[in-house]
């Protein structure tokens, strides 16, 4: 029997793991498969399990119809990252290192803020934006999207920066650096990992956002890719290969994130939940 601490390679477990992963990722495989399927094969019974008559029709449609949406999503994603970092990093520094009186309350408020459903925020923003006349605008959507990431960002920065050794802070102070200089020249450079984690998630959430886009940007000429897909499903029911091709393209940031920054992803998932 298997004993703990055995140094075997456990090929059986690897086999089971491969099967489980294949099952879990089947929908993703199916999305890719369908994105290469010809129109006439989309409703075949039984379906083609592999893209045997692979076509780029779907991707050609993406190139022709979806590029502006992708550009808008990129712009909104980057704007959200910039706004989130600008608000969250100083706050994290303050909560972790300067610890002003009453700061704890703010940490509590941030936890609560994370729990407010998006639909509620969307309705509030809608009323405000309608009055200000900034419905259907990219800056408006950037502000709304950043609300998904800012509380998370502050908590990640605070958790990370509280791990910076006090000696480093003291040394900076002895050298005559004020809080601003300490923050900019000492704390920020050593907090690179936190910056990467927060940026990745802020970008991904803004890129993936559907609810704010649909409520606050539903009628504009600058719409993100999530709405591109949504309109596709609504208007263009028949062309599922194009819909799936758009979905594949919209998944690229998530894929890049997983490949390039796997450890940051796991860190980000656990940051909010378990603090060790």
């Amino acid at each position: 029997m298997r004993s703990l601490g055995s140094r075997t390679k456990k090929p059986l477990l690897t086999g089971v793991g491969l099967v489980l992963t294949a099952l879990m990722l089947f929908p993703v495989y199916w999305m890719v498969n369908e994105s290469f399927t010809r129109d006439q094969d989309m409703r075949k019974d039984p379906p083609n399990w592999f893209p045997v008559h692979g076509t780029f029709e779907g991707y050609r449609a993406v190139l022709h119809q979806q590029l502006p949406y992708l550009g808008t999503s990129l712009l909104i994603g980057l704007g959200t990252v910039a706004l989130t970092l600008a608000v969250a990093a100083p706050a994290g520094y303050s909560l972790a290192k300067l610890r002003p009186r009453g700061g704890g309350v703010l940490g509590f408020v941030l936890l609560i803020a994370q729990m407010i459903p998006g639909i509620i925020m969307a309705m509030g923003f809608y009323v405000i934006y309608l009055k200000l006349g900034i419905l259907n605008s990219a800056p408006g959507l950037i502000v709304a999207d950043s609300t998904i990431a800012v509380p998370f960002g502050v908590l990640v920065f605070a958790a990370f920066m509280s791990g910076i050794p006090e000696e480093l802070m003291q040394a900076a102070k002895t050298d005559g650096a004020g809080p601003l200089r300490t923050f900019w020249s000492i704390v920020m450079p050593v907090s690179r990992n936190a910056v990467v984690t927060v940026s990745l998630f802020a970008f991904l959430w803004a890129w993936s956002d559907f609810i704010f886009a649909n409520t606050l940007d539903g009628g504009g000429d600058q719409q993100p890719i999530t709405l591109g897909i949504y309109h596709y499903i609504g208007n263009n029911n028949q062309q599922w290969n194009a819909i799936m091709a758009t979905a594949v393209v919209a998944s690229i940031p998530a894929t890049v994130l997983l490949i390039v920054a796997q450890r940051y992803v796991a860190a980000g998932v656990t940051a909010g939940a378990v603090k060790d």
Binding site: M24, L98, M121, M123, I233
Partner: protein
């Protein structure tokens, strides 16, 4: 500000002004982009809005009329029931599948780290991507799920277009999306369980099943509680998946508070912002109630 001067000096006296200076952006941000939209939302729920008064901004104050309208609406009871079923069934499966996978992946076989990373994919995909992929897979005529059932001689099921199955279908998609979160958090919890505890138990002749129930699960209780509570808060507010897959239908059979609130506010030609905001605020109350329990549980864990 006076409280600042009255309090005993903190460790770094120069730090307190600087501290709030660094917190100023986030404070302004929270007031402008959280508190104010929330305030407007509460205000919406307490007034009688028509399209004209919405634009002019002179809607009459009607107190809790919107709330009593919502409570007596025939949609209320089914929406509450669907919200609870959606949340608890999703959580149950996400948690136990995530737990099973976490225990499995903690055995550190060859490729385990890579495969575990691949399990994150569903969580990272934009919800519209997952939801439209599931919609196409569950399509009555051409979906791969019905094709597969056909191979076993089972008649096609109208997954998204029959009131019997629509709620189950969106729950399945939501479980798929939620498994990675549970897996990662529970896995990191398992890593903290010292290996010698297991070795002692193995020497005592405990089976794998006994080891899980007698050792792993009790030790994971705090992490499990936090995973479930956070999952609860997140699942209560799920909107995208349901709206994209079924729009809460057919015949309201997959309507939850989140989709109902949206439909009232944005889904009709004649928007009903007041009742929509009222439903949304009920959802906030539910989320905050569980959220506060979560914060308490987390504090307790940190103290321990």
């Amino acid at each position: 500000m006076s409280t600042l001067t009255q309090t005993p000096a903190p460790r770094r006296p120069s730090g307190r002004w600087a501290g709030w200076a660094f917190l100023a952006p986030v404070t302004v941000y929270l007031v402008a982009f959280y508190a104010y939209p929330m305030y407007r939302n509460i205000d919406l729920s307490l007034r009688h809005y028509t399209v004209r008064s919405f634009v002019d901004g002179d809607a009459p104050f009607t107190g809790l009329a919107n709330y009593s309208k919502v409570f007596s609406d025939p949609t209320f009871a089914p929406a509450l029931e669907h919200t609870l079923i959606f949340t608890f069934v999703s959580l149950f499966f996400q948690f136990w599948i995530g737990m099973g996978l976490a225990v499995f992946f903690s055995k550190h076989f060859r490729l385990s780290a890579t495969l575990r990373a691949l399990f994150l994919v569903p969580w990272l995909l934009p919800l519209i991507v997952s939801a439209s992929t599931w919609s196409w897979m569950l399509n009555s005529d051409s979906g791969v799920v019905n094709h597969a059932l056909h191979a076993f001689g089972i008649a096609p099921v109208d997954w998204l277009t029959s009131p019997t199955w629509s709620l189950a279908s969106v729950i399945v998609a939501n479980i798929w999306i939620g498994i990675p979160f549970n897996l990662v958090v529970l896995y990191s919890g398992l890593q903290a369980v010292p290996a010698d505890v297991y070795e002692a138990a193995a020497l005592d002749g405990a089976s794998a099943w006994q080891r899980f129930w007698k050792i792993t699960f009790p030790l994971l209780r705090p992490v499990s509680a936090i995973t479930l509570l956070l999952g609860l808060v997140y699942t209560l507010k799920v909107f995208d998946i349901i709206w994209i897959m079924t729009k809460g239908g057919p015949a309201g059979s997959s309507t939850t508070f989140a989709t109902w609130s949206y439909r009232l506010g944005f889904g009709n030609l004649l928007p009903e912002f007041g009742p929509g905001a009222a439903v949304g605020n009920l959802l906030v109350v539910m989320a905050l109630a569980f959220g506060l329990i979560y914060i308490r549980a987390q504090r307790k864990q940190q103290v321990a």
